[in-house]
């Protein structure tokens, strides 16, 4: 039954928040603490046990409520619960608007995310996955950002509908919704539904993580909501869930037969990388900068996955350290906001000089995301696929990293130059940021989650070869770029806002459809009414009251009858 705790306990506590939260404000944190700690405890307890599963027939022949906790699932659930717990410590000490709805969404998210991670049935997974839309919406709306909430909901709903289609197609191709069965006979991309299923599943996973074109709500939310939410959902949970699903996808499909799968990953990744790199330089707000990093990192992750086609465990480790670094950065941004009263880069210059612990956390997180920690960019074997001769890929990713590094230099420089006054902030805020920074550092150094031994340091990266030289060149080029051209403007180029474009297009389409509806109304209602009115008007005019006209009518009728009868028309 331990397996049920991470799903049910937070949900029960969320109900508690909903019922008592308004009348007893303290109960919000109390219930959330119980839910988060209980879920974390259960996640740790799962590690102490072998393979766990739970089965209940929720809906006959349609949906079994089946959860499994193998190594992969345990890792993801542990990561989710750990992130939730640490961010809760931060949230408890920071200013949160509408606490009741924030903590309700917090617990709801934790429950459904754990459910999605442990579901052994694609439909059940989709149920939990799509359910996260509700908490995402409530989180943002309760922070007072209504238009952003609308945007986030619609963008994610579209991504989830793509995933629904992917799930249906995958199940049709595999002949089952049971994940454990699908894994035993992965779908070929050459199957009738295979390629579409793979593409839609990947799109659903990446949409959840905010990949382009599903990204534009993230910078808006960063600007209008609190750091705890940003660290929790877009930076951590959605990232972890995305890599989790990508990991699942790697087991659902057989990608070894050709390059189609890798190409799909790379094609989905490139727009995110390009858009994010350009936008990183245009940011004048620290939270906006981190928000675009979320988009960038999912792009890089998908690109690297396409290049290396790594396994599920590798993907999850990769995703967790990115999530940790991004969360740490958001929490640092929240600390800076609390201390300096702003996150606008021109108003917080020099703030990090006075906040040394926050500065260390922030720099570690930046370094991890730039892959310079322990010279990871040089020694990383996630580029193994690229090393094997994909020169264009190497040049693209190297160029991207030059600009990424330069953008980070620019922001770090802005945070250290100047003399902004800061006020003290609660220690707990720094504690949470610090934990994530350390976690990110450990992961980037090669710490990999292992089901049997949580604390094994499995450094698998030292794989020096000629491409490592490219890594050094990237760092040097980025330094040179920062010195010579600290703020590249890319001219007037601004990547298209896909949401706005889609909105404009959908408004045009809906106008067209509305006119189509009116056209049918004209055909069905207006036209017949007009014709009948005119006909009856004419008919009424023919009623002259003169006998001769009626005799004429009768004769015409008789003539028609006679012609029809004689020609055999009645038969």
């Amino acid at each position: 039954m331990t397996i049920l705790v991470p799903v049910l306990l937070p949900l029960i506590c969320a109900a508690g928040v909903l019922v008592f939260g308004k009348k007893y404000p303290l109960s919000n944190k109390f219930f959330t603490f119980i839910g988060a700690v209980g879920a974390l405890g259960a996640a740790v307890a799962l590690f102490a046990q072998d393979f766990q599963m739970f089965y209940m027939n929720w809906c006959e022949g349609v949906l079994p409520f089946s959860l499994t906790a193998g190594t992969f699932e345990k890792t993801v659930v542990a990561a989710l619960c750990f992130f939730a717990f640490i961010i809760l410590l931060y949230a408890a000490k920071s200013k949160i608007e509408n606490e009741k709805w924030f903590y309700f969404s917090f617990l709801f998210t934790l429950s459904f995310a754990c459910g999605a991670a442990m579901a052994d049935n694609l439909l059940l997974m989709l149920f939990f996955w799509e359910g996260l839309l509700v908490s995402l919406y409530i989180f943002i709306v309760s922070a007072g950002a209504q238009s952003t909430a609308f945007k986030a909901f619609i963008i994610n709903a579209v991504g989830d509908i793509a995933l629904l289609a992917g799930v249906v197609l995958t199940a049709a191709a595999a002949g089952s919704f049971e994940i454990s069965i699908i894994k035993t006979g992965p779908v070929q991309l050459t199957d009738s539904y295979g390629a579409w299923a793979f593409l839609l599943m990947c799109a659903g996973a990446l949409a959840k993580a905010g990949a382009v074109p599903f990204h534009s709500w993230i910078p808006d939310a960063a600007e209008k909501t609190n750091s705890a939410f940003m660290a929790y959902l877009p930076a951590a949970f959605e990232k972890i869930l995305a890599v989790f699903l990508l990991g699942r996808i790697m087991t659902f499909f057989n990608l070894s037969g050709g390059s189609l799968g890798a190409n799909i990953f790379i094609c989905l990744a490139i727009p995110s990388i390009i858009v994010a790199v350009v936008m990183l330089f245009k940011q004048k707000d620290l939270k906006g900068f981190i928000a675009y990093n979320i988009i960038l990192q999912i792009g890089l992750l998908a690109f690297e996955q396409g290049a290396s086609l790594g396994g599920a465990a590798e993907l999850v480790s990769h995703g967790i350290y990115k999530a940790a670094a991004l969360s740490s950065m958001f929490l640092c941004a929240g600390i800076i906001e609390a201390a300096a009263g702003s996150t606008a880069l021109d108003k917080i210059g020099g703030s990090l000089k006075k906040m040394k612990f926050t500065a260390v956390c922030f720099i570690i997180s930046c370094a991890v995301l730039c892959k310079v920690t322990l010279l990871d960019i040089i020694f990383s074997n996630t580029y193994a696929g690229l090393y094997s001769g994909n020169t264009v890929g190497i040049i693209f990713i190297a160029l991207a990293h030059i600009f990424i590094l330069a953008a980070f230099f620019k922001v770090i420089a802005a945070l250290f130059k100047g003399n902004t006054q800061v006020k003290p902030v609660p220690v707990m805020l720094n504690f949470s940021a610090g934990v994530f920074a350390v976690l990110a550092l450990l992961f980037s150094a090669g710490w990999v989650f292992d089901a049997r031994n949580l604390f094994v340091l499995e450094h698998a990266h030292f794989n020096f070869n000629w491409v490592s030289g490219v890594g050094i060149a990237v760092i040097l080029a980025a330094v040179a770029l920062h010195i010579k051209w600290p703020s590249p403007s890319f001219g007037d180029f601004t990547p298209p806002d896909f949401y706005q474009a889609a909105r404009t297009a959908s408004l045009a389409v809906s106008t067209g459809l509305f006119k189509t509806d009116r056209f049918f109304d004209f055909i069905i209602d207006v036209m017949p009414t007009t014709v009948i009115k005119r006909f009856s008007k004419k008919g009424s005019a023919m009623h002259t009251g003169l006998s001769i006209s009626y005799i004429l009518w009768a004769l015409i009728g008789a003539l028609v009858f006679a012609v029809l009868s004689l020609s055999g028309g009645w038969v």
């Binding site: 929720w58 006959e60 349609v62 149920f127 939990f128 509700v134 289609a165 509305f514 049918f520 055909i523």
Partner: protein, 469 residues
């Protein structure tokens, strides 16, 4: 028993004006009749599940005698219809306060309920047609309830379009009679019916269930009182077409190409209605367009002719009825509060009517198919059933329609309940009956997700009973 559940409300409808003359309140009589009918339908549902047979026939020349029969499908539909009708009648007691026409209102609502149940249990197509037309008369009277010129015009439009479609269906029935020698569905099991007869049937069903090109009467019928729109145009009346579609086309054998055509037109209808809902600003018209759009999903599922399609379609009827009924009833409360139907003139209502807001949110999420609401399951099952060869483009059309659904419902919620208030609204949701009704439907939209195994399990057995599983 079958005669009781059909004739009870039909005769009861005529008793309403008589008893009101004796001092009984029409609302009380209607609630009592609705409750009795609901209890009877629950009994019949259980009996059908246990395999108990209820058949009533009356021999007439040419095989035109009425033939009512209880099977699991009709039991399921009757239960859905009577439950939603009961809720809506109860809501009406807190909404309809027009002393002059109150008696007439309840008379026609109860008559509608009786004719609907007659249609549900009828196995003779002639009698299906008779009850079909009685519902049209009821809807004509109820849509024009407020008696303004514009209302009357819309009522006439509703009547004419549905009757026009019904005439096609009558021609279809005649064609079946001449080609197969009977109009009794129990004798038509597995029979090959000419494609032209099927087409005529489909036109009739499209007109009743508001599918393009016959859909435009439904948004116009929003001039009716909200409980009427909920009863006729969301929960019950428009479901006649899809129910009879299921009943007829899961009995006779029809050309699969025609069914693919049905799915395509339904997809087009869903898209057009979804697009129109995005542009619309009248809350009741938005919900009506939404109904048209969602009816397309039901036709999609049923057009597949498979057991999965039957289960998905019937489940969709139930879940959509609950949620859409809730939305229309919420719209009634909102209209009472704001005295407008224009959503751009509302805003900020969440703070003053939280119960209605919560119910609206739950129902809207259910219609949009978002978990943990029950609409998720029906939406998913429709898509799952539609994954058959030749349906690729249609499948895509419905995916887009599903996106539209999320957009217009969320937009409506935002403009009505969030944002800056356009006026200073007084606090308070509405009368007890109205708020209780919408809250119940909202809770049911949520609870049905966790109890989904009951309707699905029942429908699986219904599909087996109909010989498609």
């Amino acid at each position: 028993m079958l005669l009781t559940i059909i004739l009870g409300p039909i005769l009861g409808a005529f008793a309403v004006p008589l008893l009101s003359k004796l001092g009984f309140k029409p609302a009380h009589i209607a609630v009592a009749l609705g409750a009795v009918v609901f209890l009877l339908s629950v009994y019949l549902l259980t009996a059908a599940g246990n395999g108990t047979a209820f058949v009533w026939r009356f021999e007439m020349p040419l095989g035109f005698g009425p033939h009512f029969e209880l099977d699991m499908l009709s039991g399921f539909m009757a239960c859905c219809v009577s439950f939603l009708s009961l809720i809506i009648i109860f809501y009406s007691t807190g909404y309809i306060h027009d002393a002059d026409y109150e008696t007439e209102y309840y008379t026609f609502v109860i008559l509608f309920l009786g004719s609907m149940l007659g249609l549900v249990f009828s196995f003779n197509l002639i009698w299906t047609f008779v009850f079909w037309e009685v519902t049209a008369v009821c809807s004509w009277k109820l849509v024009g309830f407020f008696r303004k010129d514009a209302d009357k015009k819309k009522a006439v439009k509703t009547f004419l379009i549905t009757v026009f479609g019904a005439l096609f269906m009558l021609m279809g029935i005649i064609a079946v009679y001449f080609s197969n020698g009977t109009v009794d569905l129990s004798l038509l099991k597995g029979a090959h019916v000419p494609a032209i007869a099927c087409l005529l049937f489909i036109i009739g069903m499209f007109s009743k269930s508001a599918i393009l090109p016959f859909s435009t009467w439904l948004p116009d019928a929003g001039v009716a009182p909200s409980p009427v729109t909920a009863l006729l145009h969301a929960a019950v009346l428009v479901k006649i077409g899809v129910y009879v579609f299921a009943r007829v086309f899961y009995t006779i054998h029809c050309d699969p190409a025609l069914m693919q055509g049905v799915a395509f037109v339904a997809g087009l209808s869903s898209l057009v209605a979804g697009g129109a809902a995005i542009r619309e600003t009248n809350i009741k018209r938005i919900i009506a367009y939404s109904t048209i759009s969602q009816l397309g999903f039901i036709f999609l599922a049923l057009s597949t002719g498979s057991a999965a399609g039957l289960i998905a379609g019937m489940l969709f009827i139930m879940i959509h009825g609950i949620a859409k009924g809730g939305l229309f009833l919420c719209a009634g409360i909102i209209e009472h509060k704001t005295h407008t139907k224009d959503i751009t003139m509302m805003g900020g209502l969440w703070k003053v009517m939280p119960w209605t807001g919560t119910a609206f949110a739950l129902c809207a999420l259910s219609v949009a198919g978002i978990p943990p609401l029950s609409g998720f399951f029906s939406k998913f099952m429709v898509f799952k059933s539609a994954l058959i060869p030749g349906y690729g483009f249609i499948f895509f059309m419905f995916l887009v329609a599903a996106c539209f659904t999320a957009v217009y419902l969320l937009r409506t919620f935002h403009l009505v309940f969030l944002g800056a208030p356009q006026h200073e609204w007084a606090a308070g949701d509405g009368s007890f009956q109205t708020v209780f009704s919408v809250t119940l439907l909202g809770v049911m939209a949520l609870a049905a997700a966790f109890l989904i195994s009951f309707p699905v399990g029942y429908l699986v057995r219904a599909a087996a009973q109909m010989g498609v599983l």
